[in-house]
């Protein structure tokens, strides 16, 4: 006949009260769980996305601002020099060009043409139909392309069909003719958003789309460190080789985003988590206090019978733990469902890669969820416990009889 057993019998006896309280805690707890998933979810997902790209270092030009950098000139020379470093396993040059394709209704669709020195499979494009682009400069075909799934769906494209790509010249009406490019395959790009159209081609294909001009620029050079080499070591080697360029490891990129863009999500998450914890506390404390006040006569009688204050206080604490525990457990699947729904909505934001998630499950979030709810259960039980510990037995019994 422990305090926990007495508490269990109490919550069992007052089923409706227990169910209402647990449902309340479950709803609030689900929001708390979601906020905990959100607090690190985007960062964890972004880091995972970068790691899955197959490259652990990014090299960009140091000129220009971060959102609009000047491309790296003489990029083939730069990448060749980097590739010769013993710390480096492989290098890929990436060049982005805006372009248009003719839509089904005669209007033009804006697309981003990505020129790469590597096959799609080497830069996180997963071919779902047809075949990949050739790796390196082995291709003799003028303009083979991998079409992103969004564009293929929008224009009902199939491998083997021809896509007419016209490069945009920034700042003026394009005078370049559309170039027919053969669709080698349909692919999912790791970094493509739900509402963006992308086309991947070889550097030669990109040159064709640009009307045969080749300025040997690259927006980005991706570098994979050699096996067992710490990316930080490779970053130092590249920075020493080309101090005029900016070199970032994946960790650096994540860290930078964590301090800048993702900080808002973390702050929102902290504020909302705190509010949900306060609401949980208020809900449980109110229910326990009301329930204790309804049972003052019973509690005074127990004290008169010699039942110790500690046992009665422990019983109330266990009641709190049981209510919060039940609600907290129910909060997990509920929070998971809400997180999945919110994740789908947030991923519709322009420019957000489809593979990126805002809510990511980590054991740490589960541990923190349990810890915060346990602490809330304890704090919520403190006032009712204090109330019973200080209960004047004689006057309470007298009041109960008179009442």
């Amino acid at each position: 006949m422990t305090s926990a057993w007495l508490a269990f019998r109490t919550v069992q006896r007052y089923r409706a009260r227990t169910a209402l309280a647990a449902i309340g805690v479950a709803i609030i707890g689900a929001l708390l769980f979601d906020m905990l998933l959100l607090s690190r979810g985007l960062v964890a997902s972004f880091a995972d996305l970068l790691d899955r790209s197959g490259y652990d270092i990014r090299v960009v030009n140091s000129e220009g601002v971060s959102v609009s950098r000047t491309p790296i000139p003489h990029a083939s020379t730069v990448s060749a020099a980097i590739e010769r470093l013993p710390e480096v396993a492989s290098v890929a040059r990436i060049r982005l060009e805006p372009a248009t394709v003719a839509g089904g209704d005669g209007s033009d669709l804006d697309v981003t043409v990505i020129g790469s020195t590597r096959a799609g499979g080497r830069i996180a494009w997963t071919v779902v139909e047809g075949s990949d682009l050739p790796d390196g400069s082995a291709s003799t075909e003028p303009c083979p392309v991998l079409v992103g799934r969004n564009l293929a769906n929008a224009l009902h494209l199939q491998p083997g069909a021809t896509l007419q790509l016209r490069a945009d010249v920034p700042g003026q009406q394009s005078a370049l003719p559309p170039i027919p490019c053969r669709i080698a395959g349909i692919a999912n790009s790791l970094f493509a958003s739900a509402n963006e159209f992308e086309v991947l081609t070889t550097m030669r294909g990109l040159r064709e789309v640009r009307g045969g001009t080749d300025n040997d620029d690259a927006d980005l050079v991706l570098v994979a460190s050699a096996a067992a080499i710490d990316p930080a070591v490779t970053v130092r080697a590249i920075a020493a080789l080309r101090p005029d360029l900016r070199v970032y490891s994946n960790d650096d990129v994540v860290d930078q985003f964590n301090r800048n863009g993702f900080a808002y999500f973390r702050q929102i998450s902290v504020v909302l988590s705190s509010i949900t914890v306060v609401f949980t506390f208020l809900l449980v404390a109110t229910i326990l206090t009301v329930s204790t006040n309804q049972r003052l006569g019973e509690i005074a009688a127990l004290r008169a019978l010699g039942i110790g204050r500690r046992r009665i206080a422990a019983m109330l604490l266990w009641e709190s733990v049981l209510i919060v525990g039940l609600g907290g457990l129910a909060a997990l699947p509920l929070g998971g469902l809400v997180a999945a729904g919110l994740d789908r909505i947030l991923k519709q934001m322009p420019g957000v890669p489809s593979a990126l998630h805002f809510f990511v499950f980590e054991p740490r979030a589960l541990g923190l969820h349990a810890l915060l709810l346990s602490a809330t259960a304890l704090v919520a039980a403190l006032y009712p416990m204090w109330l019973t510990a200080r209960l004047p037995i004689a006057s309470t019994l007298r009041r109960e009889v008179v009442g």
């Binding site: 006949m1 019998r9 009688a301 127990l302 019978l305 010699g306 039942i307 110790g308 009889v401």
Partner: protein, 226 residues
């Protein structure tokens, strides 16, 4: 021949309740000695102080003057834990409103004080069965209080009060919520409890119940009248 040692002694106790409209004196210079063989009834009108005296004797309240001595120990000098221990092991309380725990069966209610006293599960189960048999409720042992009548609840409460074999049973209007016939059955039970060796102090409006006691007192304006 030496006099029997009293279980509890109220020595010139007074009790004043501070109230917003001014202090109210509930007890004035009351002395009462309760020995092992005693069966005492206190009667009097509402508000005369009889429940206050019972609470003092039952160690749930403290006098503002005088002293309560329980088995040779001044209750005022004891800690709350020590007073609680006395209530648990040496006293049994019976209340007008029974105050059984609604989520526990009759048997579990009887077991509860024993569990608090550290009695092992099989012993307390056997003792609960013995007491429920004693009060005629063995066939209702697994019923919740909500499934019992008023008389049955009060008999269960008496069984609970006897669980740790107290020296003194104190009862505050034990028939106050019962009809006459049921009250008579409960009164019979008190007679049996006393005959079996437990001292009884009860306060009541019920003249028939009070008439069964060996010593009877009336209270008026906070004073005990023999």
């Amino acid at each position: 021949m030496t006099a029997a040692r009293p279980i509890v002694e109220a020595r010139a106790v007074g009790r004043v309740f501070p109230m917003p409209a001014g202090p109210v004196t509930a007890l004035r210079d009351v002395s009462l000695r309760i020995d092992a063989a005693d069966y005492i009834a206190i009667t009097g009108p509402s508000g005369c102080g009889k429940s206050t005296l019972l609470h003092l004797v039952g160690c749930v309240d403290a006098p503002t003057s005088g002293s309560i001595v329980f088995e040779n120990r001044d209750v005022h000098s004891l800690t709350e834990a020590e007073r609680s221990r006395i209530r648990l092991t040496r006293l049994g309380f019976v209340f007008q409103r029974f105050f059984l725990l609604p989520m526990l069966t009759a048997r579990e209610n009887v077991e509860l004080p024993q569990a608090e006293a550290g009695v092992d599960a099989s012993t307390r189960r056997a003792r609960a069965a013995e007491l429920l048999e004693y009060v005629g409720l063995i066939d209702r042992a697994d019923h919740l209080p909500s499934q019992l009548s008023g008389g049955e609840m009060q008999r269960t409460a008496i069984a609970r009060a006897l669980a740790n074999r107290p020296a003194l049973l104190v009862a505050d209007e034990p028939t106050g919520e019962l009809d006459e016939d049921t009250g008579t059955h409960v009164a019979d039970l008190f007679d049996r409890v006393h005959a079996d060796g437990t001292a009884i102090l009860l306060v009541t409006h019920n003249a028939a119940l009070a008439a069964r006691a060996f010593r009877r007192y009336a209270m008026k304006n906070g004073r005990l009248i023999s």
